[in-house]
Symmetry: C2
Subunit: 298 residues, 2 copies
Amino acid sequence: MIGIDWGSSGFRAYRLSDDGILRERRTAASGIASLTPTDYAVVLQQQIGDWLRDEPTTPVLLSGMVGSRQGWREAAYAECPAGMSELAANFCPVDLGGGRQADIVPGLSCRGANGNPDVMRGEETQIFGLDLPAEATLCMPGTHSKHVQIRDGRIAGFATAMTGEVFALLKSHGLIAAMLAPADSKPEELDTAAFESGLALSGQPGGLLHHIFSVRTRRLFNELSAEAAAHYLSGILIGHELRATAWAGQVVIVGTGGLAMRYRKAFAFLGIDADVAPEDAAAIGLYRLGQLAARRTP
Amino acid sequence: MIGIDWGSSGFRAYRLSDDGILRERRTAASGIASLTPTDYAVVLQQQIGDWLRDEPTTPVLLSGMVGSRQGWREAAYAECPAGMSELAANFCPVDLGGGRQADIVPGLSCRGANGNPDVMRGEETQIFGLDLPAEATLCMPGTHSKHVQIRDGRIAGFATAMTGEVFALLKSHGLIAAMLAPADSKPEELDTAAFESGLALSGQPGGLLHHIFSVRTRRLFNELSAEAAAHYLSGILIGHELRATAWAGQVVIVGTGGLAMRYRKAFAFLGIDADVAPEDAAAIGLYRLGQLAARRTP
């Protein structure tokens, strides 16, 4: 089968054998933010036209923001609690041309304890690609971090924190941006002392809106270097994000590279053991959902 | 005397009689963000050259970001606790040309309970223009809101919350900005129901970074209109700001117009009685500080 994880800023295609072995992967920058509905079939031909020709009958399954209102076609949210079968029952077909069809995995919605809705698209597919215990709490860091409750092997509910987006806004605009070194250091090169100083502050009184002002004042009093300031800010934001959730049961970080390591450090600082999930969960999730749907529609 | 409240984005000049009566005021958009050090004397001549010629010996006193590192000349912060005399003892002279001198009121710094420094410039002058009880907590809303503890008639300490700046960033960039009506409604035309809905959410678990995502999801589920969304967001942010401070003793809002009214509504929603201070506190504070300095230097 062919599985595609198609998000706002990226395109990741996976070619899998019938028994779920990942044969080939391709990535591109063709995120949905730059596309209109008529572009999708064209981009697919450009990126994986050879795969589609080689295997003219293999299923094609897509997940992520491709199924949002701003994507190819809106795949209505399935509601939590949800397992793989609720997702597979709500696939949304799209036309690849030449009489061929693909399916989009629906996103998930839930209601928080405060009554507000919350949503995810793409993360649900990653989650079902993991080999999880029946009970766990997942942390999926990113532009919009997701904290996900797994109960009885299903997604019971989740909450989104806009940590990554707020970090990017504060780094790019306004007073705090002017306090930072012009060249960002890479997330891999974490300044642990500055990061942990921010994590520690996030546990003090005063609130997030007050805490972030200390990036300005500590720079002003030469108590923080321009290079360390972004790491300190990151610690403040991630600290506030993680302290606001009750981390019950086994905690699993679903993320990659420097960001996953940064979150693991943050959990450790807060005294919480967190494992990092293996990569390629999206490919495995797409495979498993594809298998389930194939069994349902003989 | 002539008093000038010169901030990042605005210039407000006051002409006062020897007994403190406000005779005339002028405002201009010549904030310090658009000026270099050699511009200041020129702008003063453009804006109030006639006042300076009419009264060639009257004292000229300036307050606000004009005394910052990015302003005319850096006036080192005085430290809290501080009263008027500590400010008057630390005036910083600048040259008006023609052998004439003006003075800049220093800003104030303090150390929070968490060890971080905090700073204000301009607010200290406004505060000493108020007729305050010996013990009070002030809320000075704005781009960078200040919460100020008054003890024995002096400024004991304060904390800054970046509420206004974060609101502006979220309204202008990124996911939440795309959820709002394109034309901002004026702060005077507050949608009270949406504002109070945000205030209520700010008291729920989940944290600010999660709460702001509900602007997106409630719009997505048609539970919030594009017009109401900015008011809801404002309620979330102001609610987080105010709930993070212990409001001891008499609470006084030092602000003007729709923003002061909005904060009064927020305090009322939280069950806290708050008065709104009269306007022109900066002019009166400049006059009082000028009088005190004149008595000190015969």
